[in-house]
Each structure stands twice: as C-alpha cells, then as structure tokens.
C-alpha cells in the first residue's frame, strides 16, 4: 500500500470507530498506533505509548486546562453568575427583550472568568431561563439566547478551546486570549442588536420588564466587584506581562477560591465538587489530546499535512477561497463532532495550510473558535443545545434549535466581519506588554 492509501485507510477506520461510539481519543490513539505500526513496525509503535502520553500529561503548559476549568467552577459555585445577571437586568431589563439582552451581558461577564461554553450555557439555563419564562418570553427565544450567550464562554478569555489551539500550534496562549477580547465584545454587541431587532420586528413577541431604580442598580453593581476583580487580575496580569498563561490560570483558580471562601459561598462539599468536576472534564479532554498526539505521529510519517497543504494550495482557489473551503468543512464537521475533538483532530492538518497561505496564526485561532462556536449551536449536534435541554427538561430540542437560528445568522455575519477586518483580533495582542 502506498503511504497515501495507508493514510486514507487510517482516516476511514477512525471515522468508522467513532461512529460506533468508540471514544474519540481512544479511536485516534488506536488508529495512530496501528497505522504507525503498519508503516514502521509494531514494537516501535507500542513504544509510542510509553513515551508520548506521559510527556503530554506532565507538560506544564497543559496545566492551563484544569486550572481554568477550576476557576470557572469556583466562580459559578460562589454565585457570581446570578449576581451578574441581576446587575445586567437592573440596567437593561426594562427594554423590549431586555431580559434577553441582560442574559447576553451576563453571559459575556461570566465568560470573562469561565473558559467553557457548555458551562456558561448550563449556568444560565438555571439562572436566566426561569426569569425569562416568568415574564412570558417564548421558550424557543429564551433557550436560543442562552445557547448563543453560552458560546461567548470560549470566545471571551479565558478559553479552553483557544488554549488547546495554542498548545497544538505552539502559539502563545496569552496572546490568543487577548486576541479574543474584541471579537468577544463584537459578539456581545451583535447578539444584543439581534435581540433588539427581533423585538422591533415582532411587536408583542418580547415583553419589557419593570424599570429598576438607580438605588437598585448601584446595589447590584456593588455585587459584581468579585467578577470584575478576578477578570482584571487574571487578564490584566496576562496582558501586562505579569504572568504566563499557566500562572494566570493558577492565579485565577486560586483567586476564585479565595473570593468564594471570603464570601462564605463555598462549603466543604462545594469545594470537592468543583475539583471533581474539573478533574472529570480534564480527564475527558486529555484522553483526546493523548489520542490526537498518537494519531499525529501516524500523520507525520505519512506526511499527510504536507499532502493536504499541497492539495489545497494547488487548487487555484487563492488564499480566501481555500479559507472558505476550510471553514465550510468545519461547519460540516460541527454537525457530528464536539468542538474540542474537532479542533484537536483537524488543526494539526489545517494549520500548515493556513501558514502556507500566509494567514496570521493568532487571527486564525479566533476564526476557528468562532467556527466551532457555530457548531455548538447548529443542528443536528449542538452541545450547548443539549446541555440546555438537560437542564430545562420540558422544552423540545427542535424548539431550541429554532430559537437559536437568528443567532446562527449573527454568527455568520460576525465571521465575515472578522475575515474582512483581521485587525479586530490582531491589534491588542501586538500591543501586549
């Protein structure tokens, strides 16, 4: 068999195993080791299992993942999400669709301390959904807002997906995080504009809440000091060059813990629950990371990334044509795969293409996160939608997908904006301390 054929067989086997519901990481690792063995002898292939995984799990850079997860867990447990929503609501609740706008604002604020989309969506399913229903917001709209707001979790720093992208492509995680700030704010504004537009276009569809007094507003603002402090501390420290990304994650987790304890919001059992949650997600992420690295050795000796680069740059589509092709591929993959698994599986192959086309690697990180974000909310597999469904049991999946549709359109618009104006992502990181 030619190496090309071996590579294609490898990919086919991988997708077959994944379809049969073999865990993504296990399938990648298995195909990687067997493929490497076929080309290169099985003894060396098995030895990969002795070298690569232990090196991966003891790499200090990878510690950002559990640490940022832990920061989000502590922040969520100590009630920061509720306070953010309350504060946003006192300022925005009286507008048409105001609760929805407040939800987006609060999701954005929460995303600034939580690196996970799904956690953001899950949190606001419990915090914002009951409120919206109380004011007779339609089910589909309410869940759609939360699903879209949840995606801010991986756009606004910190972000587990951006961190993994940085680890795979050896880009500075700090710079990637800083690059996400402006696109994240653009996302917040566009979501808010979408809600306002829906309110105007469909009279009577979105009610307005009561107007809060300035006293209430100030009182609510006082409550959000904790989030503000934590975000300023972590992202400010990163931007100002005080910490490395791993240290920022450690400081964030430690800081969130201290705030939770000082405000007496963290019981002993909460403490362990937060740690356990983070350990579980970490284990799931590292299983695919380990598998992907093993699969990567197979790709390396079959020279697949070089072949794909030659193939795509040889199409004559030009850089932007190839980029659009790649993004379309991600949208299709997003129909079947988890965002993290998608990034880990594809970036090693796609990144060399992006470099060969001369695109900025930091900017592409932002673009790819926005693309997989879409995958989190578009049917038939949308992780945020499933998570909301698991919290809000009495709503149909199809209703949520219908409700999220306007935001899918918004996301595509935002993607186009970022492609047209890359400086939105690249300006801040090039001016870092």
């Amino acid at each position: 068999m030619s190496t090309d054929l071996v590579a294609i067989t490898g990919f086919a086997t991988l997708f077959g195993l994944m379809m049969l519901r073999v865990p993504v990481g296990i399938a990648m690792g298995m195909v990687g080791v067997c493929g490497f063995g076929y080309l290169n002898g099985f003894t060396p292939a098995l030895k990969l299992l002795a070298q690569s995984p232990i090196r991966t799990v003891t790499d200090a850079n990878f510690a950002v993942i559990p640490l940022f997860l832990l920061m989000g867990a502590f922040a969520s447990t100590s009630g920061m999400s509720r306070e953010l929503f309350r504060a946003a609501n006192t300022f925005l609740g009286h507008m048409k669709g105001g609760l929805g706008i407040a939800t987006i604002a609060a999701c954005g604020g929460f995303a600034a301390i939580c690196g996970s989309s799904v956690a953001t969506a899950a949190t606001f399913s419990t915090v914002a959904y009951p409120e919206m229903r109380r004011y007779a917001y339609p089910e589909g709209f309410a869940t759609g807002v939360i699903a879209a707001g949840g995606t801010l979790g991986i756009m606004i720093p910190p972000s587990t997906v951006l961190a993994v992208y940085g680890l795979i492509t050896q880009q500075d995680i700090g710079r990637l995080f800083i690059a996400g700030i402006v696109p994240g704010l653009v996302a917040v504004s566009l979501y808010m504009a979408t809600i306002t537009a829906i309110g105007l276009l469909r009279p009577g569809f979105l009610p307005a809440g009561p107007r809060a007094t300035w006293g209430d507003r100030l009182a609510a603002l006082r409550d959000v000091w904790a989030v503000t402090l934590l975000f300023a501390f972590v992202i400010g420290g990163l931007y100002g060059g005080l910490f490395t990304a791993t240290e920022a994650a450690g400081m964030g987790a430690g800081g969130a813990f201290i705030i939770a304890v000082l405000r007496r919001k963290l019981s002993w059992s909460d403490f362990w629950r937060c740690l356990l949650e983070s350990v579980r997600t970490t284990a799931a992420v590292f299983t695919i990371l380990i598998g992907a690295l093993l699969f990567g050795y197979f790709l390396t000796i079959t020279q697949t990334p070089q072949r794909v680069t030659e193939l795509l740059t040889g199409t004559g589509l030009g850089p932007y044509g190839v980029l659009v092709l790649i993004l379309l591929m991600y949208l299709v993959l997003g129909c079947v795969m988890d965002a993290m698994a998608m990034i880990i599986l594809t970036v090693p192959i796609i990144f060399p293409v992006i470099q060969a086309l001369g695109f900025d690697p930091i900017w592409f990180g932002i673009i790819i996160v926005m693309t997989v974000e879409l995958g989190l909310i578009h049917p038939p597999v949308g992780m945020n939608v499933f998570v909301i469904k698991s919290v809000v049991k009495d709503v149909k999946i199809s209703t949520i997908f219908y409700g999220v549709l306007p935001f899918v359109v918004t996301d595509i618009v935002r993607l186009a904006i970022l492609i047209l104006f890359p400086t939105l992502a690249t300006f801040l990181p090039t001016h870092m301390g």
Binding site: L20, R21, I26, A60, A63, S117, L275, L276, V336
Partner: protein, 171 residues
C-alpha cells in the same frame, strides 16, 4: 462486584485526583506570590506540579472510562434501536479496554525504565519514577474498572446503562 464497593473505589480514586488538582493549584498560586513578594521560587516546584498534573489526569481517566464519560460521536448511536445501542456500547467498552490495557502495559515498562535510568529532578534530585508509578496506578485501576464496565454491559444492568448515557462534553 457489589456496585457500592465499586462506587466507593471510584469515588476514592476521583477524590485523590481532585486532591492532586488542589495541590497543583496551591503550588502554582504560592509560587507566583513568592516570586513577586520575595523573588524566590520553591525548588522543583515546576517539576512537582507537572508530575502531580500527570497523576491527576491518569487517575481522572479511570473515572471517565468507567462511567463512559469520554467524548464520543453520538450521531449514529442516537438514532439506533436500544438493542443496537447496547451492542455499540459493549463494542466501545471492549475497544477502550484493549487500548487502555496496552497503554497501561507500556506505561508500566516506562516506569521501570525510568527507575533503571536513574532520571532525577533538577533541583532536589528526586527520583522521577516514583511519580510515574503513582500515575500508573491510575491506569491500572482504569483497566480493572473497564473490565467491570464490560461485564456489567454484558449483564445489562439497567441502572448502569442509564448512568453511562450521561451527557459529557469538554469545551
């Protein structure tokens, strides 16, 4: 194979992993403060946090494998009949078991090799193999728990089937 016994074992494993995560966080947090306040760094704090990270991940993987919490592609599975789903779950569990067994075996060799090769940390010259060995225990537990999981899937314990259908994700 009492369910409660296994549950306690797995809970113990996960709590230990959680404890290591707490330790890594504390070490990282304290190191940064010491650096800025006293311009001092704890000897081997870097190696120590890396090695503990490895332990917590391998131990955490034991829980993920047992509960079926790994990230999967559910598209085909979700449209299949329950009988087919059960068959797919069993197949996936067996593949995972084979993979993890090979991994645990090779990692066991790595532990022995690290012991033989006298690999030490930079500052305090601690032997690295000890940490690897502790991490390996997580993999060994993983394999044993996957055997339990496979047997249970064959016996079609209903409660267990429900448990393994939990939604898990990572992003």
């Amino acid at each position: 194979m009492e369910s409660s016994v296994i549950d306690r074992v797995i809970h113990g494993i996960e709590l230990t992993a959680a404890g290591f995560l707490a330790a890594v966080t504390a070490l990282m947090f304290v190191s940064v403060f010491l650096r800025y306040l006293f311009a001092w760094s704890i000897p081997d704090s870097y190696d120590l946090s890396c090695l503990m990270l490895g332990i917590l991940i391998f131990w955490g993987m034991a829980g993920a494998g047992y509960r079926g919490e790994h990230i999967t592609v559910d598209l085909l599975w979700s449209v299949c009949a329950p009988r087919v789903q059960e068959a797919m779950d069993l197949f996936a569990a067996l593949v995972t078991l084979v993979a993890m067994a090979a991994f645990a075996w090779m990692m066991g060799n790595k532990v022995l090799g690290t012991l033989r090769d006298n690999v030490l940390t930079y500052d305090t010259q601690m032997p690295v193999w000890v940490f690897y060995a502790v991490a390996w225990v997580g993999l060994a537990a993983s394999v044993l728990l996957l055997v339990v999981r496979a047997v249970r899937l064959v016996l079609r314990s209903d409660a267990f089937a429900r448990l393994s259908h939990h939604l898990t994700t990572a992003e």
